[in-house]
């Protein structure tokens, strides 16, 4: 074998495991030998991972087959796990250990994965830079002075830095797609309801969705196949069969695998404020898709800008309600010597939540309060319908929608500290699809300013994950963008 083990992706590693040319134990050891210089991991359980890898090797030697048997990964710390503590990046859950596994975690374990631990994220997944974790910022492996994106910043940095072949993430307003774009990896947020939310610590329940982050569309398909499916424990879980994404993906061939595919480009996704380097990389990606047979057509998403206020009212409203469960009584931290019940609640929450979380709770409390509900929350939900309808109108003229994931490459750490609203504005291209509950993907398409990666966003209609994966896979069969690795990762 000529390639270093830490460079292996999921599909490559699996075929070596299946051929008996690689042990899970060696793969895991190679990954554990690499120092985490980016603050990606909150907990790296070397002993647990080695034991699980040895067990996977023994199962394989005994003739057992599981789709991901022996594949190393780690979980965003928003998924509860019985084996490891779960913090959601918050001080309020310091030391918390769940009595059960999230469904997504349980399904991946069932499929045979070996968990290396828990990955850093913005507190309760609220953030676009992974600067809001109570346990330290995550750095971008391409340039440690820059953010990795968020909220799944630890997942993105670990996969980009070759500390892991893949990781789980969650996406409420772009938290898989934007960090994937900022770190040059591939990530997919499936249709709302495709992956169970059971055991995924709730931020905004009508938006939260789990998905995989890896280095290729094929690797994402491997993970998503194990993660997706109906779960009776999640009231909004889709009662839809999970398609054979991998089989469909492998069935494509010829020099024009995208022949007949109409890709819609919304004008609103290419505004004047879009950075020129991002625009150039995205256009290069689109030109490549054209070469593969796709046809580019114009579409309109006229309420793209409105998605920002709509999202930033709905998500905090849901968060203020969801986060009321952190009261210092049933789990998590409690303040010292509370003088009465109100003092217990208030001090526990004020000491336990970081500033961004407290801001969003207050926004949510305001827009849901008497006298303001209709003007803010209800108005936002009506606009959410209009945004979703705009997508349905656009999909009459195309099969997929494409554009940038974010208006810029990853920014410098601390660059948006002065004004939280500035970071909200940068979510403009991921929020519309989130509000509509549509599947979306980020696929690397080159580099922009400072050599930083740029992602192409693909948005499909409901349940069309297969079309996204197929398109991304065709692009990755024809190009090498997804193979680029940060220089920083090549040192060790």
């Amino acid at each position: 074998m000529t390639r270093a083990l830490h460079e292996l992706g999921v599909a490559e590693g699996l075929s070596l495991l299946e051929a008996g040319q690689l042990s899970s134990r060696d793969w895991v050891d190679a990954l554990l030998a690499r120092p985490d210089r980016y603050g990606a991991f909150l907990l790296r359980d070397a002993d647990g991972a080695r034991a699980a890898a040895a067990a996977a090797d023994a199962r394989r030697a005994a003739g057992e087959h599981a789709p991901l048997l022996g594949v190393p990964l780690a979980h965003k710390d928003i998924f509860v796990t019985a084996a490891h503590p779960t913090t959601a990046g918050s001080r309020i859950l310091e030391g918390y250990r769940s009595p059960f596994d999230a469904t997504v975690v349980a399904r991946l374990t069932q499929a045979g994965v070996v968990s290396l631990g828990k990955l850093n994220c913005d507190e309760f997944a609220m953030g676009s830079a992974n600067e809001n974790s109570a346990y330290g910022k995550v750095h971008n492996p391409w340039d440690p002075s820059r953010v990795p994106g968020g909220s799944s910043g630890g997942s993105a940095a670990a996969v980009a830095a070759r500390l892991l072949p893949a990781a789980t993430g969650t996406d409420t307003g772009g938290s898989i797609r934007q960090p994937a774009s900022f770190t040059g990896i591939t990530g997919i947020k499936p249709t709302y309801g495709r992956c169970s939310r059971y055991g995924m610590i709730a931020f905004a329940s009508s938006l939260d969705q789990a998905g995989p982050m890896a280095r290729s569309a094929e690797d994402c398909a491997h993970l998503l196949s194990a993660m997706a499916g109906f779960d009776e424990r999640d009231a909004t879980s889709l009662q839809q069969p999970v398609p054979d994404w991998l089989g469909d993906m492998r069935a494509q061939h010829g020099s024009q695998p995208l022949k007949g595919l109409r890709i819609g480009l919304p004008d609103e996704f290419f505004p004047a404020q879009l950075d020129a380097d991002v625009n150039a990389a995205v256009r290069a990606g689109l030109a490549q898709l054209e070469k593969l047979g796709a046809e580019l057509v114009e579409v309109q998403l006229p309420r793209t800008e409105l998605a920002i206020p709509v999202y930033y009212l709905i998500a905090p409203a849901e968060a203020s309600s969801n986060l009321s469960r952190f009261d210092g009584v049933r789990y998590g931290r409690r303040c010292e010597n509370p003088k009465d019940l109100l003092d217990l609640y208030q001090r526990t929450r004020t000491e336990g939540f970081g500033p961004e979380v407290q801001r969003r709770i207050l926004i949510g409390a305001y827009v849901l309060s008497h006298g303001y509900y209709d003007a803010y929350y209800l108005q936002a939900q009506k606009l959410r319908r209009m945004i979703a309808d705009d997508f349905q109108a656009a999909f009459k003229g195309c099969d997929l929608i494409a554009g940038p994931v974010a208006p810029s490459v990853a920014w410098k750490l601390g660059a948006q500290d002065d004004d939280p609203v500035k970071a909200y504005l940068a979510d403009i291209f991921t929020l519309p699809g989130s509000l509509a509950g549509l599947p979306g993907m980020s696929v690397p398409v080159g580099r922009g300013a400072g050599g930083m990666p740029v992602g192409l966003q693909l948005i499909g209609n409901y349940f069309m994950e297969g079309r996204l994966l197929h398109t991304a896979h065709a692009l990755q069969q024809a190009t090498d963008w997804h193979r680029a690795s940060p220089a920083a990762a090549q040192g060790v």
Binding site: V329, L362, Y376
Partner: protein, 99 residues
């Protein structure tokens, strides 16, 4: 319509948060900055539009799924209380509420 410091104090109490006076002042500036961005949204005519509370209902009928009224969970009280800050005899402890 801008918020004032009394609004921030009222919201903080509703949300069971207790920011310091300095934090309240910072929050006031940030919240007013935020709500300025929201104004554009309020001007849109949405008369007759049905709110979209859950995304799939944009394209299909979504009804609340009900399960059989049967016991499916076993007693997990000890496991569920293992991470509680204070428990005694299977009960959660809080400061005295009634004198």
């Amino acid at each position: 319509m801008a918020l004032n410091l009394d609004d921030v104090a009222r919201l903080a109490k509703l949300a069971r948060l207790a920011p310091s006076p300095e934090q309240q002042a910072t929050l006031l500036t940030q919240l007013n900055g935020f709500f300025e961005h929201v104004e554009a949204m309020r001007a849109v005519d949405t008369r007759g539009v049905q709110p979209l509370y859950t995304p799939l209902s944009a394209v299909q009928e979504v009804s609340l799924r009900l399960r059989e009224d049967a016991v499916t969970e076993s007693d997990q009280r000890a496991a569920n209380q293992a991470c509680a800050p204070a428990v005694e005899d299977g009960l959660f402890l809080v400061p005295k509420v009634i004198e």
